[in-house]
């Protein structure tokens, strides 16, 4: 192999790997951003179920968080990546005997990360729910708002503000967890850096690049969240 300088390896184009890694970064960001809304919605409803008076609803919510916080992320990922096609195949074969199912790495990753993210986010939402005094609900009912209106207009705005710092942590660990999906061959940042490392034999260089990219993403998200937090704070002051 001709001696290539580090700068050639890191350049953009056919000789360098920057373009390949950049496409991986886009996949990482897309995966995290696609997971976020699903995870937030599920997490919110799980927390909502866990603070109901009905014991059956609480039990269902508790099983959810126990299972998905207790399982290692990697085990959950493999269970879904290998198990879901089996299950779906059985179901589909009931209707169409020779159908085959292939699960996309992106979709499997998205489902698994949503499950994990939502179980952590539900704990954050739950403690935020508990921080809102009962009088807020009662006040809402007293001025004639319905249950749903009280939730949307009175509780939710406060809930988001209280839960925000905890959700930021969940987001940061979601960003890091996306790297796990590389083991089912999704071409995200770590996967692309790994390919570059294997082809060029400059493992240390390319894995350092991957680490720096994840650091950069973390820094960028904390800049973004501090901006959002300032925005939320301003709304509170008015």
């Amino acid at each position: 192999m001709p001696a290539q300088s580090i700068w050639t390896l890191l350049s953009w184009g056919p000789d360098g790997w920057s373009d390949d890694i950049a496409s991986g970064v886009l996949v990482t960001i897309a995966l995290a951003l696609a997971t976020l809304p699903i995870g937030l919605v599920i997490g919110f409803f799980v927390a909502f179920a866990k603070q109901q008076e009905e014991p059956a609803l609480r039990l269902a919510g508790n099983i959810y968080t126990t299972v998905f916080r207790g399982l290692p992320e990697l085990v959950t990922l493999f269970l879904f990546f290998f198990g879901m096609p089996l299950l779906l195949q059985h179901l589909v074969r009931l209707f169409n005997p020779d159908a085959t199912i292939d699960v996309n790495g992106f979709v499997a990753g998205m489902i698994v990360l949503s499950l994990i993210f939502s179980s952590y986010a539900s704990e954050v939402f739950l403690s935020a729910f508990r921080a809102i005094p009962k009088g807020q609900y009662e006040g809402g009912y007293a001025i004639g708002l319905s249950k749903w209106q009280t939730m949307r207009l009175v509780v939710l705005p406060q809930l988001i503000r209280i839960a925000f710092p905890g959700l930021e942590n969940c987001w940061l660990s979601l960003l890091k967890d996306t790297s796990l999906v590389s083991v089912v061959n999704l071409a995200e940042t770590l996967r692309q850096s790994g390919v570059a490392a294997r082809v060029t034999k400059h493992s240390f260089l390319f894995y350092s690049v991957a680490a720096l990219i994840f650091l950069l993403l973390a820094v960028l998200s904390s800049i973004a969240t501090s901006y959002i937090l300032r925005h939320l704070g301003r709304r509170e002051a008015r």
Partner: protein
């Protein structure tokens, strides 16, 4: 007001009777979970394969041993290494605290998987240099690389836990001890740490649980821990029960630890409850 009246007032409101919407939904959701669990049990019974079990159960047990030793060695080494890092984080020296901050930020800001790759594949690419220094035997073994990466990672988290716990003890405690003539180390050992442990116990327990869960990662760098053996069993048999069994083992381990930590916490905060 008589006693019976007071009791009647303090009682929580009676449960709604009949079938309100929340109850129907709750029963339905619990029903789904029961079905799901029953489905897995039924599958395991249906797919029961004495040969599979005889072949892989010992490997799983041995993998469990690898997982536990990896986690415990890393936790202990990380705890030792977290002391200077926590000291650096709390130090007034700009350079020292800056260095410690960068260390913690790096290890908490990057995925553990990347760190593990960086140690196993990245450092491994300096083989000639390592051989001259005589450290190659260490970085050749995937297990040692895993321990190395995990210790550095958990040291960063544990340093933050330690710092948070020590800083949660009010300054007056230090000043009071100083006015009694205790020097700094004595103060730390006899006054601050006993109070800090109560704060630190839960985060430490969480960190231990996170480490057990994260230890599945070493399966990817060819360590045959619990997850590694499951991967091997799946690759040989294409039987999904390989992963189901391993999931059950991890879940049981995590639940035991979680309840253990809660139990210890109840014990050591017994003087705070009325």
């Amino acid at each position: 007001m008589t006693v019976s009246q007071a009791i009647a007032i303090d009682k929580p409101p009676p449960q709604a009777r009949g079938w309100p919407r929340a109850r129907i939904l709750g029963y339905a959701l619990v029903g789904i979970w029961v079905l799901f669990g029953a489905g897995i049990v039924a599958y395991l019974v249906y797919a029961w394969n004495a040969e599979f079990f005889a072949r892989y159960a010992p490997a799983y047990l041995q993998g469990l041993g690898t997982t536990l030793s990896l986690v415990s060695i890393s936790m202990v080494l990380g705890a030792i290494f977290s002391l200077p890092v926590a000291y650096g984080r709390m130090s007034k020296n700009r350079i020292l605290s800056g260095l410690a901050y960068c260390y913690v930020y790096f290890f908490r800001g990057t995925p553990l998987l990347v760190q593990t790759y960086l140690v196993y594949y990245g450092v491994g690419s300096f083989r000639p240099e390592l051989e001259t220094v005589g450290l190659w035997w260490f970085f050749r073994e995937a297990f040692y690389c895993g321990v190395f990466a995990f210790s550095l990672n958990t040291a960063a988290y544990q340093a933050e836990i330690l710092r948070g716990a020590i800083e949660s003890v009010p300054r007056g405690q230090w000043e009071g001890a100083a006015s009694l003539g205790l020097h700094k180390l004595q103060t730390l050992r006899k006054v601050v740490l006993p109070q800090a442990i109560i704060v630190a116990l839960r985060p430490y327990g969480n960190e231990l649980i996170l480490m057990i869960k994260a230890s599945a990662i070493v399966a990817i760098i060819t360590v045959y821990d619990l997850m590694g053996n499951a991967k091997l069993a799946y690759a040989k048999s294409f039987d999904i029960q390989a992963y189901i069994w391993v999931a059950i083992v991890y879940l049981v381990m995590v639940e035991i630890l979680r309840h253990g930590v809660e139990w210890i916490e109840r014990r050591i905060t017994i003087h705070l409850h009325r």
